[in-house]
């Protein structure tokens, strides 16, 4: 089985889906001849031609809005928005148009499109190239939102996204793009949405996270004494959320820490904390803890590692929660 990094795994999924279904086309800024600024679409232009791997004008609202039309017209567009911060101009087309299409027409029209977005900080990128806007889209009924943390999941989730009959925002943690390789099967496979991955089983406390924060959590666990038994959940899918896995785990451990790169206020961790207190109230031994970015603007990169949750902050939260 070949070992692939996140970029290569996503590229493989795109290649295979484009081979399998000629309705699948890739469009975005610099995705063609250049293969994307992170090289995620490398080779697709050469293999499938300019009609199916398309460099567009520099307009995120255009890419999103034309993709809505392409999807309504029977294609399966996979749009790339080059960086998380550039989602802003596409927001209206994604939330007011793509998300509402099926509902407002009682299912007579639909919008099967995938929007791929590199997300999050940690790579010393310029302003607006490192944000974590996932909560905006999770809060929008009609959209599905996923964020894989590893190559194997990325391939399976992207194939699911492309085949999904509804619009999917597919966030790719750019900090993980080239950080490691793992075995990824050649053959096609799908990973269903709404299924979290229990990365480590444990009995004392549950750590719930997604995206690049998975690796800060793993580092944090390494800082703890062996006697502390931590269950680590990688959500993978943010909408729908795997409420069942979260609930089962916290009923078992009685304690939970939720970690993400986005700010704390009204972030995903708030929703997950609410789910836990609703579903596990009598099982809880400690208040649910959130370890997130601060509620400030994502800084320029000299301070980004201070802004993002790191292993020290996460391990401190786990210790405090266990000691409560």
């Amino acid at each position: 089985m070949p070992k692939l990094d996140l970029v290569e795994a996503i590229n493989l999924a795109l290649t295979q889906e484009m081979e399998r279904d000629e309705r699948v086309i890739v469009l975005g800024e610099d995705v063609g001849l250049n293969g994307g600024v992170f090289r995620v679409t490398a080779g697709l232009y050469k293999r499938f031609g300019d009609d199916r791997c398309i460099d567009t004008p520099l307009s995120e609202q255009g890419i999103a809005g034309v993709s809505v039309g392409l999807a309504m017209g029977g294609m399966r567009p996979v749009a790339e928005i080059q960086f998380d911060g550039f989602l802003g101009p596409a927001y209206d087309q994604l939330t007011n148009q793509a998300a509402r299409c099926r509902s407002r027409t009682r299912g007579s029209l639909s919008c099967p499109m995938t929007v791929r977005v590199p997300v999050g900080g940690g790579i010393h990128a310029p302003e607006l190239h490192s944000t974590s806007p996932e909560a905006h889209y999770v809060h929008t009924p009609g959209l599905k939102v996923v964020m894989p943390s590893r190559p194997y999941d990325a391939k399976g989730l992207l194939i699911s996204a492309i085949r999904d009959p509804d619009p999917v925002i597919f966030f790719e943690p750019k900090r993980v793009y080239r950080s490691f390789k793992e075995e990824v099967p050649e053959e096609e496979y799908t990973i269903p949405f709404g299924k979290a991955n229990v990365l480590a089983e444990g009995t004392d406390i549950t750590v719930i996270t997604f995206g690049a924060s998975v690796f800060q959590c793993l580092e944090a666990i390494d800082l703890l004494p062996e006697s502390m038994s931590v269950e680590l959940i990688d959500l993978r899918s943010l909408s729908p959320l795997d409420e069942q896995t979260i609930t089962e785990s916290v009923r078992k451990t009685g304690r939970a820490v939720v970690v993400h790169e986005a700010p704390k206020l009204a972030g995903l961790a708030s929703e997950i904390s609410s789910i836990i207190q609703e579903n596990c109230f009598l099982y809880l031994q400690a208040p649910v803890q959130r370890v997130t970015a601060y509620d400030v603007v994502m800084p320029y990169y000299k301070l980004e590692l201070e802004y993002l949750p790191n292993a020290e902050r996460i391990s401190a939260a786990i210790r405090d929660c266990l000691a409560y």
């Binding site: 309504m72 209206d92 087309q93 148009q97 009682r106 029209l109 729908p240």
Partner: protein, 386 residues
């Protein structure tokens, strides 16, 4: 080195039928037959009747806010006449009722839409249209996208996208025109220049002499036409549709018309419309001049008019009855169309009709998810394009 002129352009204006019903016969050649003119006139009268009735429904409390289309009917019926039914696709803006009707949408659905009922937006099977968009300009991107899908699949189909003068100020307009031109997609853009976006006059949307000239900047063939003249609207659209079908890419048509009503039933144009403007516009409106033309040509007379009005009245009465007598939507409808299949949290909300949790079984909350309702329960058998 002397400066050189590297680009020059001009904008053509087309009028074939004037305000008095006089036809420019050479220009009209090869456009609309007598039968077609008579047909389009009757359609306009019926839609005008629909419009007046919808206004009364709102005023009598039987319908919510409604945007009247009065005065703009010629653009819709004559541009639709240039399309091939069942082949070409229309992506309309929210005021374009007459266009939806011309493309085959049952008229009661537009009433349902404005009665706050999404069933009005359900596109019947075999109709090629998207439902009117209330986000100004958003559909100016969908049209090129749909047209691009046709082009990629090598289907000889054309998309007509409509919008008002206000939409040309939106970013989506710019992006839509730009994408359409760059990828040379078979899309016709029709701008209903009705002089107002709610209260804001055309002079506050643009400092350009015309909206038509905006298309030049994108490399799109463009024309300004008298939007109250069915011959000019038809001819410009026929040319544009042929160009698109032949692989020539998009076209832009500015149809100059006038909104003879308030913006919607929630508006009062007397606050901002200069005195005398409406009276002037009434002299140019499309129904009167088309009738004058037909009568001059002895293609229409008073008894025919009386019979048409009787027919329109009866038809619209039936349309209103259908809309008013529809059964109330079910609460479960709230959930059933958000996604193709219901995710677990929506299954719980659909079954309990609660978002709080204490009433739920404490040992099972979050662990047991109701089974997904089957297609029949979701009303999926009613779906047109599932």
């Amino acid at each position: 080195m002397p400066k050189r002129v590297i680009y020059q352009a001009s904008i053509e204006y087309l009028q074939i039928l004037d305000e008095e019903g006089n036809l420019d016969v050479p220009l009209a050649e090869g456009t609309l037959s007598d039968d077609q003119v008579r047909h389009l006139y009757q359609q306009m009268v019926i839609y005008r009747h629909f419009d007046d009735t919808a206004f009364k429904l709102q005023r009598s409390g039987r319908m919510g806010t409604f945007p009247q289309n009065k005065g703009q009917e010629a653009v819709a019926v004559a541009s639709a006449a240039a399309l091939t039914r069942g082949v070409d696709y229309v992506v309309p803006f929210y005021r374009d009722n007459a266009m939806l009707f011309e493309m085959g949408l049952p008229m009661h659905q537009v009433l349902l839409h404005w009665m706050g009922d999404e069933r009005g937006n359900e596109v019947p099977k075999n109709l090629s249209l998207s439902m009117s968009n209330l986000m100004i300009g958003a559909q100016v991107l969908h049209g090129p996208g749909i047209a691009w899908a046709f082009k990629l699949r090598k289907e000889p189909r054309v998309v007509l996208t409509t919008f008002g003068d206000g939409a040309t100020s939106e970013g989506d307009f710019h992006a839509g025109m730009n994408f359409a031109a760059v990828f040379k997609v078979p899309c016709v853009f029709t701008c209903y220049n009705n002089q107002y976006a709610i209260s804001v006059p055309r002079s506050r949307q643009t400092a350009s002499e015309t909206f038509a000239q905006k298309a030049l900047a994108y490399g799109i063939p463009t024309i300004q036409v008298d939007g109250n003249d069915i011959f000019a609207v038809y001819k410009s659209h026929k040319d544009a549709v042929e160009r698109a079908r032949g692989g020539g890419g998009p076209s832009f048509i500015e149809a100059v018309t006038y909104r003879l009503t308030d913006h919607t039933t929630a508006d009062d144009a007397r606050r901002y419309r200069p005195e005398g403007e409406l009276e002037e516009a009434l002299k140019r409106e499309p129904l009167v001049r088309t009738r004058k033309y037909l009568e001059k040509k002895k293609l229409w007379d008073a008894p025919q008019q009386a019979a048409l009005e009787e027919r329109a009245k009866k038809l619209i009465r039936e349309v209103v009855d259908t809309a008013i007598n529809i059964e109330t939507p079910q609460t479960s409808d709230l959930f059933d169309y958000v996604y193709q299949s219901l995710p677990p949290h929506l299954r719980v909300q659909r079954e309990t009709l609660r978002t709080d949790s204490i009433g739920q079984n404490p040992s099972q909350i979050g662990l047991q998810v109701p089974k997904e309702p089957d297609g029949a329960e979701l009303g999926r058998e009613r779906l047109a394009h599932s």
